[in-house]
Amino acid sequence: MQNIQSPEYAIETKNLFIFYGSFAAVSEVNMKIEKQKITAIIGPSGCGKSTLLRAFNRMNDFVPSSYVTGEILLHGQNLYGKDIDPVEVRRKIGMVFQKPNPFPKSIYENITWGARINGFKGNMDELVEQSLRGAALWDEVKDKLRKSAYELSGGQQQRLCIARTIAIQPDIILMDEPASALDPISTLRIEELMQELKKNYTIIIVTHNMQQAARVSDYTAMMMLEKDGSRSGTVIEFSETKRIFTNPKDKRTEDYVTGRFG
């Protein structure tokens, strides 16, 4: 992948369709996602939010029979191009999952494993400290780096997963409902952390929690099933979060964000 810096956008989709077999789970998505901003994808259950998110780092490749048409451009290069290695894509676009999923290893190794397999040559101790500081976890775990990651609380585990992701220095961090399995206080800490992270990273977050989207994101994409009854999800409105929540263009967005949906 070349580093042709496109000045405004971190990632861009062009006429993107995502299929499972012959079924188009997501259709016709055109988005330009800004650098160092938080973009939220919201919408009702089953409208393809996670599918869209996972298309950004080719995690859908593991679903047999799934494929994509259209383009996702990172630095002007199509992530689904013929000569693109999905492993390299995932190195550039990290991911934090819905349920905290640290490796069953020590806290230290949770950070260093990704670095090691990707051929990191710097100082591991520094990398661990910086990554954990970056995820606002350092002070809580600095004395027990060799302890199992499973000894941490759910919220700490999720921040460890974030630290693990920033340790491999991606350009973009995808977050798939990162706080949905956490209590309100842990959720708040993750949200604060996201504000810190966006200084260095572009963040795309899927959330089913509209308040969360309103609190943390700069841009919001509203997804909804297509009106034609095809059960295919699409982005019906994408603009600044403020606008989506105060002055949406689409009637369905308005119904959804004001709780009148359904």
Binding site: M59, V87, R90, R91, F97, N101, G114, I117, I168
Partner: protein
């Protein structure tokens, strides 16, 4: 009010309906309990039957009286005195042959004692009694033995002794042991596991992590499941055709300069057992790999790992306890198998320890089978002893499997 409400029993009717439900519940509970009782009883009967044979009274005579060889009671003799007796009374040919097997000076006292008994005094077992008879009717037995065999000694004997475990096969039941059979069994399952564990794990990794869910792979999967149920004698035929006959240069060791063996070696038996347990190991390993949660794979892929790095660093280490448990259970199946060994050609009489993959061999189940087919009752007694050895071996293996599973069980 909802009209459906009227259709439910109330008051007295409700109680009657409840009582009926409890009654059928307790009937079912009693049925399940009796199923358990039947299972426990049959296991207890099995154990009792084996124990019954392995202990009990024996009436035996000395063909040559000990006083012909020594003035002192036999049990009081020390090593040197025993050796002197052997030197004085054995023919020089027989003495040399024993000396060749193992230098007489280096033999232990129990060893020499056994030799004196076996070669010079010579025991003639007249009759054996079961454990139950020996305990319940000991007076009758004593009277019967005194009447029938006036010269015989009567003693309560455990046929399962440390000596029984450490002596090789003998044509006389009193001096036979299971040492060669235990070693043969261990060699065999060792070879089987060395062969089947890597191949089985590899196949399982491929099927779980790499194979697409297409028609061919589904056919392969179904066939592996079916192979696990194929009767073991069929594997014996396979082993005979392939390992003993077709691959004879390899399995007899003639390719490696071993000249005195045919294909009926421990290697052939081990490979046959390996093929027998291969489907079991594949299925067990697949289950273990399936049990590794997907979230772990996604975590690894999410930080830019390749498929192989994910499998090697995360899937396999976390599936390992399960794979090992499955393999131990497969081994305990192999160690008890008899039919394939008969077909592959286990020797029934071997008194030399197996010393390599190209040795002739025998195994515990073969030994047990052979002894139970003999007419003399003392052979049935040592067969019972050997069965206890085999059962203890099996229980140890299964207990190891359970311990491994409990120890390494991970929470994700």
């Amino acid at each position: 009010m909802n009209p459906n409400r009227g259709h439910y029993p109330e008051g007295e009717a409700l109680h009657r309906s409840l009582n009926g439900r409890y009654r059928s519940a307790s009937i079912w509970q009693a049925l399940f309990f009796s199923a358990l009782v039947v299972a426990i009883l049959s296991l207890a009967a099995l154990l009792y039957n084996v124990m019954d044979g392995a202990f009990g009274y024996v009436a035996f005579e000395y063909k040559n009286d000990p006083s012909e060889f020594t003035a002192k009671p036999l049990d009081d003799l020390n090593k040197q005195e025993l050796l002197d007796i052997l030197t004085a009374n054995l023919s020089s040919g027989a003495f040399k042959k024993l000396e060749n097997d193992k230098a007489m000076e280096k033999r232990s006292r129990p060893d020499l004692y056994t030799l004196v008994l076996e070669r010079l005094i010579q025991i003639d077992t007249k009759q054996t009694w079961s454990m139950t008879d020996s305990i319940l009717h000991s007076k009758d037995i004593k009277a019967e033995a005194a009447a029938k065999y006036p010269k015989a000694k009567l003693e309560f004997r455990s046929w399962l002794t440390p000596v029984f475990l450490t002596t090789p096969m003998s044509s006389k039941a009193e001096f036979a042991g299971v040492r060669t059979a235990i070693l043969g069994s261990l060699w065999m399952v060792g070879i089987a596991i060395l062969f089947a564990l890597p191949i089985g794990t590899g196949a399982a990794v491929y099927l779980q992590e790499y194979a697409n869910k297409n028609f061919i792979n589904r056919v392969i999967q179904t066939n592996i499941n079916n192979l696990a149920g194929v009767p073991s004698i069929v594997y014996g035929m396979l082993g005979l055709a392939i390992f003993v006959r077709a691959l004879e240069p390899l399995t007899s060791g003639s390719l490696f300069g071993v000249t005195d063996a045919n294909g009926r070696t421990i290697l052939s038996a081990g490979l046959t057992m390996g093929t027998l347990v291969l489907p079991l190991i594949i299925i067990n390993a697949q289950e273990a790999i399936k049990a590794v949660p997907d979230s772990l794979r996604q975590a690894a892929f999410g930080v830019g790992a390749t498929r192989w790095q994910t499998v090697w660093h995360h899937v396999l280490p976390n599936a390992l306890p399960g794979i090992l448990t499955g393999s131990i259970l497969a081994v305990s199946r192999a160690i008890g198998e008899t039919a394939p060994l008969i077909v592959v050609g286990a020797s029934t009489f071997i008194s030399i320890d197996p010393d390599g993959p190209f040795s002739k061999f025998t195994a515990l189940p073969i030994q047990i089978y052979q002894w139970t087919t003999r007419a003399q009752s003392e052979f049935h007694a040592i067969a019972a002893g050997a069965i206890i050895v085999l059962l203890v071996l099996l229980l140890t293996l299964n207990a190891t499997a359970i311990l491994l599973r409990n120890r390494f069980q991970k929470k994700y």
